[in-house]
């Protein structure tokens, strides 16, 4: 993990002091409400339906066990005992008091954490592959580059007042687990000989006008990363729309200009500044790389995994968990273990303070003291010795963290909706509960196979409904909750946006509609075909016909 230096700590402490001063001046009436809002947003503090909300950054989803314990302490001391993992790998607290926030940030600074630029129209927390440094299909570890971007973008003087928020995602693997195509800038690490570089995408995003990002450069040598990002941001800062909130994201600028003209502008800006803008030194990136060493080899005795093999033979429940919730590690003595945070016991992505503490302890005992958050709102232990899997599985089971539903129907993404969000049209969490209750037969879930269900309470798309195999969007009609379903969305390598199934449905018809959609899939699929493949082959019509048949008749 990145280790903070005195420089980093000094910076963070002074930033907290600055925010404390701003908060005091606001309390004294020296800063007006509107201006304080902007200042607090840049420190992660929103005001929501019931209370303020504090969003703490988890840079590229990477946490140490001590940081997890600190997050538990925050939940216990300043909140109602829980936190919520977001789709951008951060954690949110729903019940802090504004005057406490400087103290919370001060406490977090002691464990090298902050909430800087987790909201506001600036460069947000950079997200990445939760399996970084462990995945079998990795070209290069993206985390050193993410850390470089984090440092560069933190309080960047030129890009703190952009037309709208700005999100960057980086992947270093063949299979994209960071959804780079739906970010303002998406970066794919590529190797050319010994040189690291990037394919650069721009203008992706969901929200009310969803776009898949376009390639602006198919290869950018890594040493030019910051100057190229600066060029894109400068063009956007100067030319992005500021007259209309809904047309202010870079995706609109790129779509209006066309990617070719946008590329010309960026390249011209980049060339013109090349003699004044510095390159990323090889020594800089090497020093960052040294902070993310590969996990040490599994010690001798731990290599003996005969217990594991026997268990896989004899215990189908363990076998199911192993197949569904774990993944291969590049070190064959280890495995990657997912902890799904979705089941019928609590809202999606929620973690209580006690759970956080227990998970931190497990991370110490089984996962080299580190863990990651994913954009599907789950957790990952990236480096578990194979010989420890049975013991870890036993502990996870008693905690309700071994439900073998990863990537399956009940592993849904849902935004907070009416329960917490002032923009919501729909009670997304109720729908989540209904899905958990209706589809609790794990064998049925495994028969359906991998499928993603994503729910947003309004068109801002915090729940990423556009890229769900089944997307569900809450809409309001005559003061009532309705839901618009889409099929065939996808987030991975070839991202695509879902297509509308038909007219919006009232709340009580949503679960039956999902049921029908699944039945159509089961009767239509060819051997071994996933839900996504079936929808791609037959289109939405066969689903539409059955879901809406009853209504037409």
């Amino acid at each position: 993990m990145y280790r903070y230096t005195e420089h980093d700590r000094g910076f963070l402490k002074s930033r907290v002091a600055e925010f404390r001063d701003q908060t005091e001046r606001w309390q004294a009436g020296e800063i007006d409400e509107d201006e304080y809002k902007q200042l607090r947003l840049r420190n992660g503090l929103y005001v929501q339906r019931h209370a303020p909300m504090l969003r703490v950054a988890i840079p590229y989803g990477q946490l140490s066990s001590d940081q997890m314990r600190a997050l538990a302490h925050v939940a216990r001391t300043w909140d109602k005992g829980y936190g919520h993992i977001t789709t951008r790998q951060n954690i949110q607290y729903n019940w802090p008091e504004i005057p406490d926030v400087p103290d919370i940030l001060d406490y977090l600074a002691d464990v090298d954490m902050h909430a800087i630029q987790t909201s506001g129209n600036c460069i947000r927390n950079t997200t990445s592959d939760p399996l970084a440094g462990a995945a079998e299909d990795e070209v290069e570890d993206p985390r050193p580059w993410c850390e470089l971007i984090r440092q560069w973008s933190t309080l960047h003087p030129e890009f703190n007042w952009l037309p709208r928020k700005f999100k960057i995602a980086v992947t270093g693997a063949e299979s994209d687990r960071a959804a780079v195509q739906i970010h303002d800038i998406g970066l794919r690490l590529i190797k050319r000989g010994s040189e690291s570089g990037f394919e650069v995408l721009v203008g992706g995003g969901l929200g009310r006008t969803p776009h898949i990002g376009s390639v602006i450069r198919d290869y950018l040598p890594g040493k030019h990363l910051l100057s190229y990002l600066s060029a894109i941001l400068r063009v956007y800062n100067l030319e992005g729309r500021r007259d209309n909130l809904y047309k202010a994201r870079i995706k609109i600028l790129v779509a209006t200009m066309g990617i070719d003209q946008f590329r010309e502008k960026v390249e011209a800006e980049w060339q013109a500044s090349s003699d004044t803008v510095s390159e990323v030194q090889a020594s800089t990136i090497d020093a960052l790389r040294a902070m993310f060493p590969p996990p040490p080899p599994v010690p001798g005795p731990a290599l003996d995994a005969s217990d594991l093999d026997a268990r896989l033979e004899s215990d189908p429940i363990f076998g199911q968990w192993y197949r569904v919730n774990t993944r291969g590690h590049r070190d064959t003595g280890r495995r990657i273990v997912y902890l799904p945070l979705k089941n019928d016991e609590r809202p999606a992505g929620d973690l209580t303070d006690t759970m956080m503490d227990v998970i931190a302890d497990l991370a110490d005992r089984y996962a080299l003291g580190e863990l990651r958050t994913t954009h599907d709102q789950n957790l990952v232990f990236a480096h578990v010795a194979r010989a420890d899997l049975v013991a870890l599985w036993r502990e996870l089971r008693t905690l309700g963290l071994a439900t073998p539903n990863l990537g399956h129907l009940t592993d849904m993404i849902v935004c907070p909706g009416l329960d917490f969000c002032s923009l919501a049209n729909a009670g997304t969490l109720t729908l989540y509960d209904q899905v958990q209750a209706r589809f609790d037969d794990i064998d049925y879930l495994h028969d359906i196979g991998e499928i993603s269900v994503k729910v947003s309470g309004c068109m801002n798309a915090c729940g990423h409904h556009h890229i769900g195999d089944i997307g569900i969007l809450g809409v309001e009609k005559h003061g009532k909750e309705w839901y618009q379903l889409t099929l065939g969305g996808h987030a991975g390598n070839a991202a695509s946006l879902g297509k509308r199934l038909g007219k919006a449905l009232p709340q009580h018809e949503v679960i039956p509609a999902i049921d029908t959609v699944l039945n159509v899939y089961l009767s239509t699929r060819l051997h071994g075909e996933s839900f996504a493949q079936t929808v791609r082959r037959v289109g939405v019509t066969p689903f539409q016909e059955v879901v809406y048949a009853v209504k037409v008749a």
């Binding site: 440092q151 030129e158 007042w161 800062n237 100067l238 510095s278």
Partner: protein
Amino acid sequence: MPLKLRDGKLVSHECTDQDDVLCLLQLQEQHPHSAQAVRLNPEDNALALQPWIRTLSRIDVTYPAYTDGRAHSQARLLRQRLGFAGEIRAVGDVRIDQISMMIRCGINAFECFDADTETGIASAQLCHLSALYNNRYQPEYPSVSTLLTDTVFQ
């Protein structure tokens, strides 16, 4: 009375420069070779000032709202691309908490909507942050503390 960064402090500017401040369009249409001061609107292309950059002594950049960051980029372009070493004055909705970022982008004078804000700015601590990141990787954005001991903009 506008404030100007001088010897590490923001001091009131005796207004010797009661210049005619032209807008970009006037400059482009009239081509006065003697033009001293010009005002850029946020939508103007700062690079269009190139032909006059040696004779100009003051360029105003405007903030219709403090949340509109276009002038930050304009100031950078003036300093970095055109090598402008004179006064860049932020005018409009200029707020205390934004001054340090503006300075780091190359702005070195401030003219606010109201006198109270200016007084506040003059007595404010300019640099809360003890260390910064981006100036490590992009030395063209120095930290305020570096700038205060530097003579570049004075």
